[in-house]
Symmetry: C2
Subunit: 406 residues, 2 copies
């Protein structure tokens, strides 16, 4: 027997309705099993659904389940102490000398048990879920050896399962150079391409491959080697690109038909053009922009002009974006980057699905899509971006199972 | 029979313990009625409390109930539509011409019933309460006539009661010039001083008096008249000062022994010196700084040098700070203004109590103080400022009644 939900407005985020947010007022949604069977104005509900007892949507707005398409949410330890030291005036160098920074996260992730990684990540995912997130991308990259990269990716899957969120797992072995390879970046890339990536791909733990292409990360030539290895295993790629300098990362990503180029603050017109041509989405990460107090904003107007899809994500990680609020990222995307609320909400639904290669199953409310739905107690969709630090999600539908809070 | 809480760390925020955050590890708190009867290291618990069955604090950190010392949380309507229009490129002037801006809030507050104001404010206060807030200041100032200012202050009291939060009510009749007094600011100040303030003071609805002293608000001379009227009724004053320009607001506030001068981005050294001399706290409002995309930061170093107490608050209001997250303000105070986590947490406890004249009953965990306590699932106090958009409050004690979430 299908489920019917009424007493809702729907922001379908599908352009086919021709309205802002693809909105349908006084909508009805029919769910059959894990999928949306029908969706439209309630007064057009087909007759054969009329005898279903409706679930009361309580006057909420239904949106596609939200998608957080760039996270590093599986890690050991925590870095509040480092945050405090920096504000007390201790320099980055001194903190690094004391073993802080990303290397401390690598150490603590290596030391953590699988169970600890699952527990802490599941807690963080539960916070995303409370806001209506139903699909999350999780990267490895704090292991930097076969054993720990594997442990991270396994933990990502189990934590998502426990939190009842769909997951895409991204292998980010080329995140930073591990201490044991200091000064031997090419040797480490050998290890990534010849051993870690093939092994974990064969184990079915990888949905996509990412790298950190930056002056403080890997060179374009090293990144290219990682991408070529991904191609051998028929895995799509993504790239941390042009965050600190313009190193042509966005163009390199596009050349490999990357799903997304992420950060992209320094992306230029040729990069934007290449991304548009190859269907590579731009992933905007306002939480890191905020936490790192960056000044260079991503080139929104360029992306608009060239019709590059713009996704928005938390970048959830302990070093540069310790947040688990995707709704707060809406506010920051509008306030810092001047996205419109509709662009920003598109960025955590439709465009985020594109950045994960997860459309059309995810990202819009459309017949045939997975019945992953978030219900918000708001008067209009823009309210999600207007309020700061507020969670009006009062109901969720995950793979067809509807729950409203009492 | 007193209550005993153990299995906690306590950040008492009291300097008498000589540790950062006034921290006591493995602490015990004894509560008798509505007040803290004893607090200290568990192994020093006096013998006559040993027979009390302890409430398990679950390994949390206990902090003084948080204090939000500057809000405009009672209002009619909502301004998400205006937010969206601005991001779509509509000018402020056009929005004002369409009836937007603060005047739309005045209109909607006048039109709202008392019950509507209580309902919506109680919902917003419940969000503050979830984060561990136990005392809130609420201003009038969207009524701008006797009837509606009264309605706002009555709603403030009732909403706080419903949300189980202590409240201080501030009369802000001199917030802006109401439309019916356009071009007649002095006449409106007459009304405020001769009719509205005396009437509402006599009705016992006012704990303090505030004004908006700014080029776009009232002049220092008009502000002085309001403060003199407050003095006649023996009411303490506060001031929205030096937000947009340095108009000597902080010094004026200090001259009247104001509890606080708020915003104070443009406060200069003489202002800071005067504040210190008169015990006037600076109230920092990073939410408005963020939402209005301001550049001028309050002079933190000046306040440190002159030992001006720095409080931190949400400024919760529909036009310039639509937030109900005091914990997010910690993050923003550290990230935007470079407060240390300890200064920021002091800003929502001890300094906020000072800004409301509510110490020592509120703001520290000390014997004799009200047993208003927030319990956080964190590993160290700095974590409250480090995480972005996260609420680890898992327990509350309001006037002696302890509740932990399951």
């Amino acid at each position: 027997m299908p489920n019917l939900i009424t007493h809702i407005s729907a922001a379908t985020m599908s352009p086919s309705h021709g309205s802002a947010y693809g909105a349908i007022h006084d909508a009805a949604i029919v769910i059959d099993g894990e999928r949306i069977a029908w969706l439209g104005p309630r007064d057009q509900l087909p007759a054969h659904y009329h005898n279903i007892e409706a679930i009361d949507g309580r006057g909420t707005w239904a949106l596609p389940g939200l998608i957080d398409c760039h996270t590093h949410i599986v890690y050991g330890g925590m870095r509040a102490g480092e945050f405090e030291k920096r504000l007390q005036g201790v320099s980055y160098e001194e903190i690094a000398r004391q073993g802080g920074g990303i290397r401390s996260t690598v150490t603590m992730t290596r030391e953590a048990s699988l169970e600890e990684l699952i527990d802490t990540a599941a807690d963080r995912l539960a916070e995303l879920r409370r806001e209506g997130v139903t699909l999350v991308e999780i990267k490895s990259g704090y292991g930097l050896n076969l054993e720990t990269e594997r442990k991270q990716l396994i933990a990502a899957g189990k934590a998502a399962q426990r939190a009842r969120i769909d997951v895409r797992r991204t292998f980010l072995g080329a995140h930073t150079i591990p201490p044991e390879y200091d000064g031997r970046a090419d040797d480490y890339i050998d290890l990534v391409c010849n051993e870690i990536l093939p092994t974990l791909a064969a184990e079915g733990l990888i949905d996509a491959v990412d790298a950190f292409c930056e002056t403080i990360g890997f060179t374009p030539a090293q990144t290219r080697r990682v991408f070529e290895a991904a191609r051998i295993h028929d895995l799509p790629v993504k790239l941390h690109a042009d965050q600190i300098t313009n190193s042509g990362g966005a163009a390199l990503a596009a050349e490999f038909d990357a799903l997304s180029a992420d950060h992209v603050e320094f992306c230029d017109e040729s990069g934007a053009r290449a991304m548009a041509a190859h269907g590579t989405a731009a992933v905007l990460l306002p939480g890191a922009f905020y936490f790192l107090r960056e000044n260079q904003k991503p080139p929104i107007d360029l992306f608009r002009r060239h019709k590059v899809a713009m996704a928005v994500s938390t970048d959830s990680n302990p070093g540069s974006s310790p947040t688990t609020s995707l709704l707060l990222m809406l506010s920051m995307a509008c306030t810092f980057f001047r996205l419109t609320p509709e662009e920003a909400i598109n960025g955590i639904t439709t465009a985020a699905a594109q950045a994960l290669g997860a459309a059309p199953e995810h990202g819009t409310l459309t017949p045939g899509a997975l019945a992953n739905i978030a219900f918000f107690k708001i008067t209009q969709p823009a309210e999600l971006a207007y309020r700061i630090g507020h969670n009006p999600c009062v109901g969720r539908c995950y793979r067809g199972k509807v729950e409203f809070e009492e």
